[in-house]
Point group: C2
Chain length 301, copies 2
Amino acid sequence: MSRLIAVDWGSSSFRAYLVESTGKLLDTIKSDQGIFNLTRDDIETCFKSQCASWLDKFPQAGVLMSGMVGSRNGLKETQYLPTPCSAKTISLALESVELFDRSVKIVPGLCFIEDEKTSDVMRGEEVQILGAVNKLSNDCELICLPGTHSKWAVVEDGKIRRFSTFASGEMYSTLLSLDLFKGIIFSKSFDKESFQKGLDASFQTAGFLNSIFSGRVKLLSGELDDIHLSSYLSGVIIGYEILSATKIYSSNSKVVIVGSHYLQELYTLAFSHFNIESFCLEPDTTYVSGIYSLAKQNNYF
Amino acid sequence: MSRLIAVDWGSSSFRAYLVESTGKLLDTIKSDQGIFNLTRDDIETCFKSQCASWLDKFPQAGVLMSGMVGSRNGLKETQYLPTPCSAKTISLALESVELFDRSVKIVPGLCFIEDEKTSDVMRGEEVQILGAVNKLSNDCELICLPGTHSKWAVVEDGKIRRFSTFASGEMYSTLLSLDLFKGIIFSKSFDKESFQKGLDASFQTAGFLNSIFSGRVKLLSGELDDIHLSSYLSGVIIGYEILSATKIYSSNSKVVIVGSHYLQELYTLAFSHFNIESFCLEPDTTYVSGIYSLAKQNNYF
């Protein structure tokens, strides 16, 4: 029975999946060897060593990769396909690359262009979005993928119509190093009440640059404990992301969250705080569902 | 004739002014010895050495300080006076501190409390705001003090009514170090067109976290040159600050800008881009005007 080796290779992580011709996930390999600090040769070596046992056992397996591996720092810079875009359209645009003696194909990125001022790009997240669509009974949904660069996307008639990126995860890491909060004790432990205070602060009219400063004001006034500052700032950022996204994507349906267990918990709490219905999809099987539909369309099986 | 030694001592800068009893500015001393990295002893030593010639020449001169010197890391932690607040109210709340053999007083900070969710603080900027009020013919104006933590304030009947802080300068320094822009060439030279593109991007509905990411999208699409990224991000931040502030402070009058020459130029350009009338006040003489009115009220002269 034929196999597919699917690789979700981002800037900071490597995730490989061994998939059966039925679409069943057989095995998973994960590491933090992202594309970011690898040379072209490193990428080849890394893939070979990480997936050695699969490659030995299934010499005929097709290889399908997505994510930053398709950027200019990856194996080959693939195009950005314009939305609206279905699994079929994307599967027809897979790009081949020579990687030792294997037939390897890379999923292109997507771009959304509304007008001169509004445009966006993604590379990798489209596979999880397609997977989410496969798993949903209602076709028209709002999908949220929280992370370093959170993506929100609307899917209609099986097509990714529109999406937006929010640099939330990166902003969170950065805020903790601001002079504004220098010398203040941080705690990694999560405090729900402070997180919710942050969510509320994000909805103030004075906007994001003011909401950040409010962290300092609340510390000075004793409204916030210094060990809860990180939870508060996390609430400000996530609240602000949800506020901005729901302005663009007003949806009557539930929001579908696809992300790590930790982020799913935070976002579920935030949606619930704002009385927005949401539910979670497990990210690995969602990815596999998406990449499998691309492989099927492209006659991998 | 008696003299006043006025010190505007912030986190990262020291500015001292020798003022005549008429309010005339006689001499200025500036250094980058901010409060941030000084101990209590360092602060005393720094003041003595920086102002040695004035202290020798005018042993009877009163000393009035403002800014972070009144914080818990400064000479003495002074209170935050609640707004609305006039020069008279503030002058009655000056706090004395023993500094060698001099009578030294420190200007308190201000706090604005609207409700449980909205409050703000300032320490130092209130002096420039009072100075701006002295210099204006129209009493009711919107005042903008751009900087690391930009302040916007509304003054009515000679009283500081309300103010808001935007962590704009700090956000700008931080954005340039994001992974999002890692390895991308930056230029310190200013590009007007890219700055204006950033101003326009800040007004998009998707909000700040999306506008930042748009810098990367515009680089990928070739809409923005990598050497102009810093000008673009500066436009996004300043545009976003103005957008947020004008939502709170809708004003039919001109906006008064008090800031460094460089920031005055940037903000003037931004206001003009948004068809908002503005004009600039020179920061040193504005500070001296404010501190002089406090000294007069407190019977320094």
